[in-house]
Amino acid sequence: MSNQALKEKITQLLTTATFDETGEWLNISIEATNWPAFANQLRHDENLLFDYLFCLTCIDNKTNLTMVYHLTSTKYRHNIVVRANVDSIKPEIETVSHIWKTAEFHEREVYEMFGVNFLNHPNLRLLILPDGWEGKNPLRKDFEDPINMIKL
């Protein structure tokens, strides 16, 4: 599907979505509360079939966090990027690990590196950081480690 067709289709599914076409792929910004239902539609709608989540990550904008999901369809070969802002003090978003299994590990990584709480995640525990890790999340911009981080 072309970007224009995707845009029309997605507007039908979620009227509040906003679009940005300046990047390589169609960027869709949504409200975090709409994400679980919207993700389900993206995965199962016959004309969309976004079955492969090839990148899941988070960006720290200092005032808030942005969850970024890169999706592609192995049948139609179209790509989209879904973005959802979450609060930086109490970040919460619904998990999508039941829709795309790969999200389970990627969400655990984001959970420990950014502190985003994925609601209803089946196994939200530390994956990379050592057991009993206390303190801030390493990939946040305000993270300080006086011993191991050298400022150039």
């Binding site: 300046t22 990047g23 390589e24 792929w25 079955d51 492969y52 989540l53 090839f54 990148c55 990550t57 960006i59 720290d60 970024v68 890169h70 192995t74 070969r77 990027v81 795309w100 299994k101 790969t102 389970e104 590990f105 990627h106 990584e109 525990r125 994956l127 990379i128 950081l129 050592p130 057991d131 390493p138 990939l139 993270f143 400022k151 150039l152």
Partner: protein
């Protein structure tokens, strides 16, 4: 750590494989719940070699950060560097000379051969066949020598720079590569005679660690793992970069989804890599090996993503730039991380002894998973 394992019934045994274990080829730690010899649950614990490369890159410039990426998937160092060079070129809209594009593809395919050879030797050794290891390393050494002459390093080459490659090819390069390819064609057949048809080997691999096509897509498995399950996921074909649109090659796809299928994909990929190198080695265009770039690179405000095919699967670099000389956020989508997440699904219900075959054909490189 053990309170996390969850409910266990009587008769269950919990064992740790790794972090120091010869079959995990690196510091991977698996906590396995066993019932008798059957795997009930498998949980990877990562982070023993985590260096937080993503955080490190936030304070490095767009020329510097490429060198760190060699240390992730060190067997695909060239291809990681290529991805980073490509993403910077995409952001700055640098036109790369044709000569550099062809050199990059040649180097990437030599790397792929070297990586698959190491996998072949190490995987066979895990299964219990010792000879292949020496055969594989003998030929891999030749590739390392070729790399050393041109790039100055044998493992972490750092040869790709934004705009092209770092320096001119060594005068011996073409001659040596042609000699190597001629010899290697014969050696691949020798490899196959040695292992592929072996009945003991086949019995250890067939129907072991089956991953269905739907699961492979859902778990984000790419590279030989995805293609062994019948998923068409070769980035070189789907989204060609550099000179891949100028060469003829087939995407190798097997549909069985077991360890033998993943093995066959890699062996057939060796033939495809040979064919790509043969097409290009006599047709390296004349011209500059590097485009002229500014001394200080500043990516415009925005987001850039580049996907490439490493020896292990789809590698992605995601850069969020705020217009400065360093990235605001950088994310490396490593193929090993997603491939490893499917191991639990593959292993459940099979015998502990088969786990080695599954891990061998997943071709895990731990620094790539941990980053």
């Amino acid at each position: 750590m053990f309170e996390e394992i969850g409910t266990t019934t009587e008769g269950d045994l919990i064992i740790n494989v790794g972090p120091q274990h010869p079959a995990t080829h690196g510091v991977l730690h698996l906590v396995i719940t066993l019932n008798g010899e059957t795997i009930k649950k498998l949980e990877p614990h990562l982070g023993y070699i985590h260096r937080s490369i993503e955080k490190m890159c936030e304070s490095l410039t767009y020329r510097q950060f490429i060198y760190v990426t060699s240390r992730m998937d060190y067997l695909s160092a060239h291809i990681n560097n290529q991805a980073c060079a490509l993403v910077v070129e995409k952001g700055l809209q640098i036109e790369v000379p044709d000569r550099a594009k062809v050199i990059r593809v040649l180097m990437a395919e030599l790397t792929r051969i070297a990586s698959h050879e190491l996998w072949w030797g190490a995987m066979a050794m895990d299964i219990g066949a010792f000879t292949p290891f020496f055969h594989a390393f003998r030929e891999r050494e030749t590739i390392n020598d070729i790399m050393e002459e041109t790039c100055g390093a044998r493992l972490t080459m750092n040869y790709m720079v934004p705009g092209g490659v770092m320096q001119e090819l060594h005068p011996n390069f073409q001659k040596k590569v042609k000699e190597f390819i001629k010899l290697f064609r014969l050696k691949v057949h020798e490899y196959e005679e040695l292992l592929t048809g072996n009945i003991i080997f086949k019995n250890r691999m067939k129907d072991v660690g089956v991953l269905s096509k739907e699961d492979a897509i859902s778990y984000g498995c790419t590279g030989p793992v995805g293609r062994g399950s019948g998923v068409s996921c070769d980035i070189r074909k789907l989204y060609p970069y550099d000179a891949y649109d100028k060469v003829q090659f087939d995407e190798v796809i097997e549909t069985a989804g077991d360890s033998l299928a993943r093995y066959m994909v890699r062996i057939k990929e060796l033939h495809q890599s040979i064919s790509i190198i043969e097409q290009l080695i006599d047709n390296i265009p004349e011209g500059d090996y590097q485009a002229k770039t500014k001394a200080v690179l500043k990516l415009p405000k925005g987001e850039f993503y580049q996907r490439v095919e490493t020896a292990r699967g789809e590698f992605g670099v995601y850069i969020v730039s705020e217009g400065g000389t360093t990235p605001h956020r950088i994310k490396f989508r490593s193929p090993g991380f997603s491939n490893l997440s499917a191991l639990d699904k593959m292993a459940r219900g099979s015998k502990l002894g088969d786990l080695v075959a599954m891990m061998g054909t997943l071709d895990l490189v731990i620094p790539d998973i941990d980053r």
